[in-house]
Subunit: 191 residues, 2 copies
DNA sequence: GTCTATAATCAGATAGAC
DNA sequence: GTCTATCTGATTATAGAC
């Protein structure tokens, strides 16, 4: 019962972070959306920052579950493309929480949050291994540092190009995904 | 004299927007950095949103000046690459203001700001023309909608990959620029 | 136009009863 | 654990003297 309530809180935080970002999200809103009093919320999570950290930790859990669901025999490059597709679908569906990379008190809470950090490390390790495999196979540009490739993939989670294309209203979500996937892996230049 | 003061204000806003973003920037800070009282600031600009809009309008002026400085004979693709380099240098130098794309009152002020909107349209028109030329020459992937290419170039102004690489401390600014330029135009895949 | 002082509001967090 | 009511501090914006 308590777990169910905390899940509802995290779901709500997740949606609000995706919709309006950390600074614009208010604790009052979260409480209202969940249907409890703000003071009750603070019995579950000690601060607004911890709410965000919990949502990010949950996202990492989901990500690890998705990575685990990919068929073992799939080629590393295809796994990477699948992960980016998954991220972009979350984003277009309004379920990709976005945090300001500058806020220092938030960063402090995040790096202190064990579940989040463990999840992030787990995801990064697995993606990093696939990146290096794909580079060894000559499919991903071996001249790029693997860490730069990893960051570039992560950055699709907050790519404004998708929002702009969606606002334009000329493309379906899946078209947008394939478009951004193409610019990401194939680049803007003709091949 | 009045113009000089307003320039100082805009410069300060620009740096603060680049450093901490719109929501975390406070009007008190701006006033303190400029060295005037907050009430004086409000004699020059009617709201915090207008401060941001003025900074963005100034950015568009700078951009137009840069576009105009490019040699006429340069190939369109090279001009586009030069523009992206210019944007990334600004960003790494802490002079690229970043605004939240979600804040609605801010968007209202922005679209009502004639100098900003005219500047943005001017920049977009010129970049759009170069993009279509480069596509006609078969240098930029003709299958990509020109608007998607434009957005992808603009997105380099708020690409977190650069901040992360800079935080890593393993690369010089110019190395980071060439790396991101490579992933942007050539993609992650090997060629 | 610049200042000091202050209004007005909002949001994160807490007190204390049940 | 949940609630109502409140505190506290920060922040946008303005009043009014010079």
């Amino acid at each position: 019962m308590l777990q169910a309530r905390e899940d509802a809180i995290i779901r709500s935080v997740n949606l609000l972070l995706a919709e309006k970002g950390f600074e614009a999200m208010t604790v009052d809103e979260v409480a209202a959306n969940v249907g409890i009093a703000k003071a009750s919320l603070y019995k579950h999570f000690p601060s607004k920052e911890d709410l965000a950290a919990a949502a990010m930790a949950h996202l990492m859990e989901q990500a690890l579950a998705f990575l685990g669901s990919l068929p073992e025999e799939q080629a590393p490059l295809e796994k990477l493309r699948a992960v980016v597709r998954w991220m972009m679908r979350l984003k277009l569906g309004g379920e990709m929480p976005s945090l300001p990379s500058q806020n220092s008190t938030l960063r402090t809470t995040l790096v202190a949050h064990k579940a989040y950090m463990d999840g992030l490390m787990g995801v990064s390790d697995r993606l990093g291994a696939w990146i290096e495999e794909a580079q060894a196979q000559g499919l991903i540009n071996p001249k790029l540092p693997a860490i730069a490739v990893l960051y570039t993939l992560y950055a699709r989670a907050c790519d404004p190009v998708m929002e702009f294309l969606k606002m334009g209203g000329l493309n379906t979500d899946e078209e947008i995904i394939e478009l951004v996937l193409s610019t990401c892996f194939d680049g803007l230049n003709a091949r």
